[in-house]
């Protein structure tokens, strides 16, 4: 163990150097694209392999803090290798290795569009993510956080068309809004403690009000990065614009850094200041809203990559449910519940990284073969691309939380954490936990619908365009990456009794609570309620019992198989245009879930408003230079509109219907009642 601990920093620096060298070489040799791609990939893969080792080492080992002094007294270079950072390192670098391998073939799509810069920025992107999760100094954290945002921004706008620049711009603004909030929070802490070291923050108990402000700022700031509602609108614009393997890395890796930040600041750095109950409830509520809205909007998409991006919003929501229970458990002083909740969140973080990367790579493979992202123009790809289709199917099952795959296991733990919290908490927690469980159930059912649509419309049935008919299976490196990820999906699900204790270690070391027994032989256990499931045995039983009818059929059925018939169309001649397309799904869901889609126009446009605000501000500044004071039109306009609106509302109040007055009385009474409760 000693040797391992000693060598972790050296391997880490070796990996960082490899990445930087790879980045520079890619840029220098940019003229010859093949060479540039090769060099960037080789160095990137080597760096990530080394970093994967560091990650595994930190995940399994105990926490170690290394501090290297720099010329600036306030910014000594501190690195913390603990299980939480280790988990993130494993996630990021596993995906990075596979993305690099995938990229060797996939980048053929980007010939002449700047393969050199892609290699440069991707190396930079990976290394900055690695630093963000390990540095333990607020100053360096911000530096690498910014580097990560910028390098990914350039990857988003690599295609240089209108859509990608627009998406990229939105992303840049949202990233910086988040950055500002995080920065303010860090400066508050630094101002109070007089240091930028997280270790100093960790040992300083802040006044509850200050701690709450810091938590709120970091939660919202990192929330922008994580893509939770209401800061999600950049995700479906930025992720699809990037090359698919970068999307995989962003959706699988980068947005997890948002969650990592929330956990690290809220549960680790602020640990000495204690935890307010409402923090957890806020996280839980935002998580529940994100999960339902994310999947509901995904259902309305027929661009396959935008659909996947919306599913990232959903899954961030599910992760936040677990993390929220972590906060609630700490506030209730129930370490077991806290550990279980955070563990569920971390497990889902890992799982989502794997299956979302798999799905993005699968979408990339489809894009590579058909050159379209529109699902309406696909169909029947399973015949041309069997390997991609199988991998995508496994990914779809995993993300839909179908047992015994990995998505199910982490959602099961999330449910169990919610049960425990409701079991031990008071009325308010019970209420929120109950509705979080309901939203998770709704999310699960909608996710099934959404992936039946995504998979069915893309891979099954008849081909609906020439591009789909001419599609070919992708080259070996792309297949390899997808197969590895599909395999990991199965492994993380069926091997849950082995994985769960690891995630438990991450959770309990982060929270500094005692270990919790979450697995026993082949079972995974909720120690509080005593609930058990067993994914390995379930997998065996499922396979066995599916084989039984198959065997019976093989032995006894004598009729033979004929698979040449046209589908039945009520006696008419069947036409390809009669089959289901993506739009058919959206219509039904929108019929039943209309309120959710109405909400969308309210929620989604917040970020767009920011962009508009920014543009107005720049325009306003320009105008102010030339026209001077005259241009306060915006202010005047909006004030006028507000007055109008107020008048309109007042008219409603004066409607004269006595039942409306009664409503006011009831509302007022309810408000006073709740106030009396709160005051108490």
């Amino acid at each position: 163990m000693d040797i391992l601990n000693l060598s972790i920093p050296s391997i880490f620096s070796l990996s960082a150097i490899l990445s930087v060298v790879g980045a520079l070489l890619a840029l220098v040799t940019g003229r010859s694209e093949g060479l540039s791609k090769g060099l960037a990939s080789v160095f990137g893969i080597l760096a990530s392999c080394a970093m994967l080792g560091v990650g595994v080492g930190s995940l399994l080992g105990s926490a170690s803090l290394i501090s290297i002094p720099t010329p600036f007294a306030f910014a000594s270079f501190s690195l913390l290798f603990n299980p939480l950072a280790g988990l993130l390192l494993v996630v990021i670098n596993l995906l990075a290795i596979l993305a690099w391998i995938y990229g060797t073939s996939y980048l053929a799509e980007y010939k002449g569009k700047g393969i050199g810069p892609i290699g440069f920025f991707m190396n930079l992107f990976v290394v900055s993510m690695n630093f963000v999760v390990t540095v333990d100094n607020a100053f360096w954290f911000l530096v690498f956080f910014e580097l990560m945002s910028l390098s990914s921004y350039f990857l988003v706008i690599i295609e240089q068309d209108e859509k990608s620049t627009k998406g990229g711009f939105l992303y840049l603004i949202m990233a910086h809004v988040g950055f500002m909030m995080i920065m303010i929070a860090f400066f508050i802490m630094a101002g109070i403690t007089g240091s930028f070291e997280f270790e100093v923050f960790r040992n300083t108990p802040f006044v509850p009000a200050i701690a709450s402000v810091i938590f709120l700022l970091t939660f919202l700031g990192f929330g922008c990065k994580a893509g939770m509602v209401p800061f999600h609108s950049w995700l479906p614009q930025a992720h699809p614009a990037a090359p698919s393997h970068v999307s995989a890395l962003m959706s699988g890796g980068m947005i997890k850094i948002g969650v990592f930040g929330i956990v690290k600041i809220g549960l680790d750095v602020l640990a000495a200041s204690g935890c307010e109950l409402w923090w957890g409830i806020l996280v839980l509520t935002i998580g529940a809203i994100s999960s339902v809205l994310g999947v509901a909007y995904a259902l309305a998409e027929h661009d396959i990559k935008r659909l996947l991006a919306y599913h990232s919003v959903e899954n961030i929501g599910i992760i936040l449910l677990g993390v929220g229970i972590g906060f609630i458990g700490i506030a209730l002083e129930q370490p077991l519940i806290a550990a279980l909740g955070l563990m569920a969140g971390m497990y889902h973080l890992l799982n989502h990284a794997v299956f979302k990367a798999l799905l993005f790579l699968g979408a990339g493979a489809v894009l590579y073969s058909t050159h379209t992202r529109d699902m309406e123009k696909m169909g029947g790809l399973i015949r041309a691309m069997p390997v991609t289709a199988m991998c995508f199917l496994l990914g779809s099952l995993a993300i839909s939380a179908i047992p015994p795959l990995n998505g199910f296991v982490s959602e099961w733990f999330t449910y169990q954490a919610l049960f425990d919290a409701a079991f031990r908490g008071d009325a308010v927690i019970q209420l929120f936990a109950g509705f979080a469980a309901v939203s998770l159930a709704l999310t699960g059912a909608l996710a099934v619908t959404c992936f039946v649509k995504a998979y069915g419309v893309t891979f099954l049935g008849a081909s609906r365009s020439d591009a789909a008919r001419k599609a070919k299976e992708v080259p070996a490196p792309m297949k390899l990456s997808m197969v590895v990820l599909a395999f990991v999906c199965v492994l993380l699900g069926v091997g849950a009794p082995l994985v769960a204790p690891l995630m438990q270690t991450v959770a309990s070391t982060t929270l500094a609570v005692g270990p919790v027994a979450v697995a026993h032989n082949t079972l995974v256990v909720n120690p509080e309620m005593g609930s058990i499931i067993s994914t390995p045995l379930l997998a065996v039983l499922l396979i066995g019992l599916i084989l039984v009818p198959l065997l019976i059929r093989m032995v006894f059925a004598r009729g033979g198989v004929d698979s040449t018939k046209e589908p039945w169309a009520c006696g008419y001649q069947h036409e390809a245009g009669m089959s289901m397309i993506a739009t058919s799904f959206g219509a039904d869901v929108q019929m039943f879930m209309r309120p959710l889609y109405r909400l969308r126009s309210v929620v989604s446009h917040q970020a767009t408003r920011l962009v508009v605000l920014f543009e107005r501000a720049t325009k306003g500044a320009e105008a102010a230079e030339t026209q001077g004071i005259q241009d306060d039109r915006y202010l005047a306009d909006s004030t006028g509109a507000f007055v109008d609106w107020l008048g309109h509302q007042a008219k409603k109040i004066e409607g004269g219907n006595y039942r409306v007055y009664l409503v006011y009385i009831v509302v007022a009474l309810l408000v006073f009642l709740s106030m009396s409760v709160l005051a108490y």
């Binding site: 009325a427 004269g656 009831v666 309810l670 009642l673 409760v677």
Partner: protein, 218 residues
């Protein structure tokens, strides 16, 4: 604590019956359900009397049975007869049943929070029942607000009245019977007057829909 279990269960039944009062479509059915609810109320008073050993509660129960389970429904049925067959027509409610159910659940929850947050002179065990009784006030208001049928609005008032009854019984089981008789007769008179007004309104406007009464506005 367990001795209050029966009281609390009856409280639960009480809120279920009042939910049905809100949801039921025709005034006839509402009357029957209201009568049923009053019987539950009587049982609750009896159960409370047995648990606390307070003699007054039995007299309360007896008067409540006469006034609420018999007299009020009788008055309402009489009014319905006066109005004639058009009383059977269902006047639509202004919210869907789903919203009504969830609204009642929310009111119940808020009342529970309120009851939970306040130090009370009575035993802890009746807090659920107390929340139920408090919630009745809001359920009654909900009935008045959401139902367009004026007869059902009368029942909304009756629900509120039932709620105040239970609250009083839970908080002051030792109160003299005179108070109770006062409340009961007061309610009876209110119902009589409202029923007469409803019959009159129907005679003039030929409708029981509160939304058709706009001409009355000054």
């Amino acid at each position: 604590m367990t001795s209050y279990l029966v009281v609390n269960i009856l409280g639960g039944l009480l809120i279920v019956t009042s939910l049905f009062v809100v949801l039921s479509k025709t005034p006839q059915r509402t009357t029957l359900i209201y009568s049923l609810q009053s019987i539950v109320l009587v049982l609750l008073l009896v159960a409370l009397g047995v648990t606390t050993g307070s003699r007054e509660l039995f007299t309360w129960a007896a008067t409540a049975f006469i006034t609420k389970a018999v007299l009020v429904p009788a008055i309402m049925l009489f009014a319905l007869k006066k109005i004639g067959p058009s009383a059977k027509e269902a006047v639509p409610s202004s919210i869907s049943p789903v919203v009504a159910i969830i609204l009642v659940a929310v009111e119940l929850f808020v009342c529970y929070l309120a009851v939970n947050g306040i130090e009370l002179p009575t035993a802890l065990g009746v807090k659920p029942a107390l929340a139920v009784s408090l919630a009745h006030f809001f359920v009654g208001l909900t009935c008045i607000i959401t139902q367009r049928n004026i007869l059902k609005q009368i029942f909304g008032y009756c629900l509120m009245e039932n709620g105040s009854h239970v609250t009083l019984a839970l908080l002051a089981p030792e109160a003299p019977g005179l108070v109770e008789i006062g409340i009961a007769t007061d309610a009876i008179f209110a119902v009589v007057i409202m029923a007469i007004v409803a019959v009159r309104i129907h005679r003039v406007v030929k409708s029981l829909d509160a939304d058709d009464l706009r001409e009355l506005k000054g």
